[in-house]
């Protein structure tokens, strides 16, 4: 018992002097420094740093007093969290039902052929990340693609090819 009491008494130190840890600390204080705030805290980390790396997961786990396995379990259970940094540009292809019916699989093929990456992967030169979405809710504009946070509707394979080649000179 005594060792546990000591562990919780020591305040974990942020992994670096990066100011973004202050935002993370603020979220953890707001949720009461306990395990209930794990998902909220991971959201903040991802918003601040773009992804969740091991350093961040270890820091959050020890601060909220949850086993690292649980922090890792939560981070990998939910699709929204990513453990890898994204490329310079992101291209999210919606694979919701309406988009699927209206030809989204053809768009995935374009990304595969032109960039050599499947949804969830980033090109080797870290230029472009291709992601898929469950549904953007832009079903009226199917098939929809999000280029760097800008939603484009009724996208044709040619339009996608054009956009990708603008980002990545290697596209043939």
């Amino acid at each position: 018992m005594s060792s546990r009491a000591t562990v919780s008494a020591i305040k974990p130190v942020a992994p670096g002097h990066d100011k973004r840890w202050k935002i993370v600390d603020a979220t953890m204080r707001r949720v009461g420094q306990n395990s209930r705030g794990l998902i909220e805290t991971l959201h903040t980390v991802q918003e601040a740093f773009g992804y969740l790396d091991e350093i961040a997961l270890r820091y959050v786990a020890v601060s909220l007093r949850v086993p690292l396995s649980r922090a890792y379990g939560v981070a990998t259970f939910y699709h929204f969290f990513t453990l890898k940094p994204a490329g310079e540009h992101t291209c999210v292809i919606c694979l919701g039902t309406a988009c699927y019916i209206k030809g989204a699989p053809l768009l995935v093929d374009v990304a595969k052929r032109d960039l050599g990456v499947s949804p969830g992967e980033t090109t080797a030169d870290r230029k472009v990340s291709v992601l898929s979405a469950r549904c953007l809710g832009s079903c009226g504009l199917a098939p929809a693609v999000v280029y760097d946070n800008e939603v484009a509707g009724k996208v044709t394979p040619d339009q996608l090819r054009q956009q990708l080649s603008q980002w990545d000179a290697h596209v043939s």
Binding site: H43, F80, A98, I101, C135, G140
Partner: protein
């Protein structure tokens, strides 16, 4: 906030609105925003200022107007609707306010798409600015709350909801009043109300539109529910993928707190209630109530066996009421107009209206609200305007990955909970996807099975392994290399997964397969016996 103050805000707002004879409303919900409606709004504002008409014409952003496929949509106070408006049209549009409408941009509103709808949940969508509480109050907002708190007992409120016949709009259709009454009778140190806004069905965006277009309506529904069941704290569990809905909810919560409509001693009564937002993180299974509770508690979203039901032991082990966004959005009008009024709409067992997200191979795609009991044919051919490009209707899919595909012979069936379930689909949360002959039904079944396989949380074996195996079999069929034995095995697995899975995700995962086997068995046969896919989707490897 006292009732008199609320009335004063409404009067002031209405007077301010009456001072400006002309109003131009621009849709700034997600659908139109993705076709640059913000630029249209900015251009209109700029033009209005430049013309010095700022005092005579009010330009504002409003919620969803429904016909998403024709966006960006703009409406004027005389009822004219414009479609495909570009920022460059702003000047012409403002000039036209003085004389005739701009014909080239006009969108006719005397068509079935608009005429056949009946708006209760969406009554304010496209009419009020979702970021101003004053406009909601001027449109009779928060009157149901005040009326409940000052003139009704919690039991009377619940009785009114029971009388209305309202059933859960999240998909399962459990009677809302009954749920409320169970939670109100449950014993606990604290009670919670949760709004399920984790709309995970692909092809469904009703809850998102309601939250983006009229967030206060949902807060009011939650407040009335909290009063009826005796809850003191609430959570809205909303998808992180809906940044705009989150932003507007945050604004709405702040405004309601500022006016004392949330917090301690609301309307000078002993009733106190606070609401917090919780962001989902992209897990379909979190739409299941016990998984949702696990997620709010900071855990992986895995369901647990029921009973005990959340009404008895829910969030943090306390009695918890969980309702969907659309269910809460129905509460204020029910209290305002009475349960009998609501029960007069719809058909025998399904009362009121339902919001659908109509999408896929149909002329008019967007958000529609129709009375229960309307037929599928009216939905697809009247409201939806039929199938474009002279193609032929093949199926309509309702209920997302938990629902089924219904063929042409089901078109004259009424849309209600029982009829859809009887036909092998479900009402679901309201996604309605129309398919034409270019879709292969086996491929569609595989698509949904892929979804369920990926989204299975992995806790129970029938769902975790069963969905994987069913997906593998469907994949073999779509590669045109399956035998009749594979289909028999698929059917057997459907039965097993349906009957032995822990939660709704697994129990309903076989529905898309079962419904396509039932109505489109010829297509399965074609794939197996003749190595042929009539839609020309399967068997091909992607070409150059």
């Amino acid at each position: 906030m006292y009732p008199e103050e609320l009335e004063q805000i409404a009067i002031t707002e209405r007077e301010a609105q009456a001072d400006i004879p002309q109003a131009v409303n621009v849709c700034v919900a997600a659908g139109c925003l993705s076709c640059q409606s913000q630029a249209v709004l900015d251009a209109l504002n700029k033009e209005a200022l430049a013309r010095g008409k700022a005092g005579h014409c009010k330009v504002k952003g409003v919620g969803c107007m429904g016909l998403c496929s024709e966006g960006p949509l703009v409406s004027t106070s005389d009822g004219t609707l414009y479609k495909h408006v570009a920022a460059t049209d702003a000047g012409e549009l403002l000039d036209s306010l003085q004389h005739d409408p701009v014909e080239r941009l006009r969108c006719p509103t005397d068509v079935p798409f608009f005429q056949r709808q009946q708006k209760i949940v969406l009554e304010n969508s496209g009419a009020i600015d979702p970021e101003r509480i004053e406009e909601y109050i001027a449109a009779l907002g928060y009157r149901a709350l005040v009326h409940s708190l000052t003139e009704m007992t919690p039991v009377e409120v619940t009785a009114e909801v029971i009388k209305s016949g309202l059933r859960g709009r999240g998909g399962a259709g459990y009677p809302t009043g009954l749920k409320w009454s169970t939670v109100s009778k449950a014993v606990g140190t604290q009670k919670f109300v949760i709004c399920n806004a984790d709309e995970g069905d692909p092809g469904a965006f009703m809850d998102r539109s309601v939250l983006e277009s009229d967030p206060h309506r949902v807060l009011e529904g939650m407040l009335v529910a909290a009063y009826a069941v005796g809850a003191s704290a609430g959570y809205i569990y909303v998808r992180a993928e809906y940044p705009l809905a989150i932003k507007r909810l945050k604004i709405a919560l702040r405004q309601a707190e500022k006016l004392g409509l949330l917090g301690a001693n609301i309307c000078g009564t002993p009733f106190s209630f606070k609401i917090e937002l919780r962001l989902g993180a992209g897990a379909f299974v979190c739409g299941e109530e016990t998984a949702l509770i696990a997620s709010i508690e900071g855990n992986r979203g895995t369901p647990r066996p029921r009973p005990p039901y959340p009404a008895m032991e829910g969030l943090f082990g306390q009695p918890t009421l969980i309702n969907n966004v659309e269910t809460f959005a129905n509460i204020a009008p029910i209290i305002r107009n009475g349960g009998d009024w609501y029960a007069g709409i719809g058909n025998e067992k399904s009362k009121g209206t339902k919001v659908f997200a109509l999408a896929g191979r149909v002329q008019n795609t967007g958000l529609v609200e129709v009375p229960m009991g309307i037929t599928l044919r009216e939905m697809v051919f009247d409201i939806g305007g039929g199938i474009p490009d002279g193609r032929k209707f093949k199926a309509v899919q309702t209920g997302g990955p938990s629902g089924g595909c219904l063929p042409a012979e089901c078109l004259d069936m009424p849309v209600d909970y029982e009829s859809l379930a009887h036909a092998g689909s479900i009402m679901g949360s309201g996604g309605m996807i129309v398919m034409d002959e270019s879709s292969c039904m086996v491929d569609v079944a595989k698509y949904f099975m892929d979804f369920c396989m990926t989204e299975s949380c992995g806790k129970c074996i029938p769902c975790r392994v069963g969905t994987y195996q069913m997906h593998r079999l469907l994949d073999t069929i779509t590669k045109l290399s399956a035998t009749a034995k594979d289909v028999a095995l698929l059917e057997e697995l459907c039965d097993l997964v349906k009957n032995t899975s822990l939660c709704g995700l697994g129990q309903s995962a076989p529905n898309p397969v079962l419904s396509t086997l039932r109505y489109f068995s010829d297509e399965y046969k074609g794939h197996i016996e003749r190595n042929q896919c009539v839609a020309g989707v399967c068997g091909k490897e992607p070409g150059p």
